[in-house]
């Protein structure tokens, strides 16, 4: 009962925040709404008994990445709408199509996976503690984990090369 209430609360906040991100024209407000959504999603992870993933959501996304987003928004001083909404028309059409496609895929997976149990709980799921996640990363998912790290390394090298102007 209580779990269901908390689940619907977090879910509502997450959805409202996500809608606000897209509908808001002031980029700073959009960023703030995104932070709110991240918090609500983190709350959902806590509800699923996966505190480690929940806190990483805040530590990595809300605490670091969104700070950089805000930093860039403020640095560029994006004024209201012009620079964002002057997108190409084709871009809008393609964006809508791809967004709709993603929605269909996510909905299909969600409907297929929806099992028994109250909202906000996964029966028989392993607890998402730091130990469990660490063990999984370094055994079953070692290859994808290492691939991701190489990808990140490539991105770092690329960023340095692009930022360094006098590199001959």
């Amino acid at each position: 009962m209580f779990t269901a209430f908390v689940f619907y609360l977090f879910a509502a906040v997450a959805l409202a925040g996500a809608l606000f991100v897209v509908l808001q024209r002031n980029p700073v407000y959009s960023a703030l709404a995104l932070i709110l959504t991240l918090f609500a999603v983190s709350g959902l992870f806590f509800l699923l008994n996966t505190p480690f993933i929940g806190i990483l959501q805040i530590l990595v996304y809300a605490g670091a990445i969104m700070v950089l987003y805000l930093f860039v928004i403020m640095l560029l001083n994006l004024s209201r709408e012009e620079s964002i909404l002057r997108a190409h028309r084709l871009q809008r059409v393609v964006g809508t199509l791809l967004g709709g496609l993603l929605l269909v895929v996510v909905a299909a997976v969600a409907i297929r996976q929806a099992g028994p149990g109250a909202p906000g709980s996964v029966p028989g799921a392993a607890p998402g503690t730091a130990e469990a996640v660490g063990r999984a990363l370094f055994s079953d998912f070692l290859f994808p984990f290492e691939m991701a790290s190489i990808l990140l390394l490539a991105a770092i090298v690329g960023a340095i090369v692009m930022a360094k102007e006098d590199l001959r």
């Binding site: 505190p51 700070v67 950089l68 805000l70 403020m74």
Partner: protein, 327 residues
């Protein structure tokens, strides 16, 4: 359930008020100590030894006019001080300040809540404090404030990384993310002896995270007037001020918990030891402000990325190797 809720509420009430009181009297301590270090007397008019000065300051701030700058963003301008203060206070929830005690037949743990991700919780919550600074700088619609906010976000991002990495050595040794477990793991030897490098990195980054001298670039008064809070007045300003001092208390408590054995110590009761250690760090904070000049901005960035980060990674590597070879 009822007993649990009641003890939880009582603990939250006591800790919350103690933190705010400590923060208030920290301003008195800072003024007194800096005055002494600069061969002055410091506040000594209000009450004996100026002890009522924080209360006089609070009344003054309450009565000041609350100014909203023209063309400022009203919503974000009001939100920013709250975003700054709340994480600072909430971060204290997982820090153990004493051993469990028997009260009226109940066993009460002297920590508000012991979660198995305690260290990550504190890091995550304290990393949110920067939003207060950034939003304040942006919403003020003032160039000095915006420059302060940009500096704050760059500085916080840079030093948070080394701060998080410096703790990993402790986590390897304790084998747990829970702060209660980390304190218990230091029963025989404090981690400062096993992790001297980690401790120094943590302390340096801790000072940078709280925006205290010599890392107080976001509010550098000689260049930016007062940085991100230049437009703020009255209680909104007081909230930023309080957030800074509460953050000092939190970082000191974390340093004591992670490296100085938390509440462990001979003779004196555990709570007294904890307070003593926190006070020692607070003293160090104030002492540093009175002694060290402010870094230049490029020095600050270079130091964070080219010195602290590699050292923190080296610390993890060496700790992991030693622990792995012993096992």
């Amino acid at each position: 359930m009822a007993a649990f809720l009641i003890t939880a509420f009582i603990k939250i009430f006591i800790v919350f008020n103690l933190i705010l009181l400590t923060a208030a009297y920290l301003t008195w301590l800072e003024r007194k100590l800096i005055a002494r270090l600069q061969v002055r007397l410091g506040p000594n008019r209000v009450g004996p030894f100026g002890l009522l000065q924080p209360i006089a300051d609070a009344i003054k701030l309450f009565c000041k006019e609350d100014i909203l700058p023209a063309r400022a963003n009203r919503f974000v301008y009001t939100l920013a001080p709250m975003v700054s203060l709340i994480p600072a206070v909430v971060a204290f929830a997982v820090i153990p300040f004493g051993d469990s005690v028997q009260v009226l037949g109940y066993k009460v743990d002297l920590v508000i809540t012991d979660v198995n991700i305690g260290v990550l919780y504190v890091l995550a919550i304290t990393s949110l404090g920067v939003y207060g600074l950034v939003l304040a700088g942006w919403a003020s619609n003032s160039k000095y404030a915006l420059l302060g906010a940009l500096r704050a976000s760059a500085q916080m991002i840079s030093y948070e990384l080394s701060l998080g990495l410096s703790v990993i050595g402790v986590l390897i040794l304790a084998g747990s993310l829970s702060l209660v477990d980390i304190v218990r793991a230091q029963e025989r030897v404090w981690f400062i002896l096993l992790q001297p490098l980690g401790f120094l990195i943590f302390l340096t980054c801790g000072v940078a995270e709280t925006n205290r001298a010599p890392f107080d670039l976001p509010e550098a008064e000689t260049e930016l007037v007062a940085g991100f809070h230049v437009e703020y007045s009255s209680m909104k300003f007081a909230m930023f001020f309080m957030a800074e001092y509460v953050n000092m208390v939190t970082v000191s408590a974390m340093a004591a918990t992670l490296f100085l054995g938390g509440w462990h110590g001979p003779l004196l009761p555990p709570v007294a030891w904890f307070m003593l250690k926190v006070f020692a760090f607070l003293f160090l904070f104030i002492w540093m402000r009175a002694t060290l000049p402010r870094l230049r901005y490029d020095q600050l960035m270079r130091f964070g990325w080219k010195v602290l980060l590699p050292l923190a990674l080296l610390n993890i590597l060496v700790t992991g190797l030693v622990v792995g070879l012993q096992a």
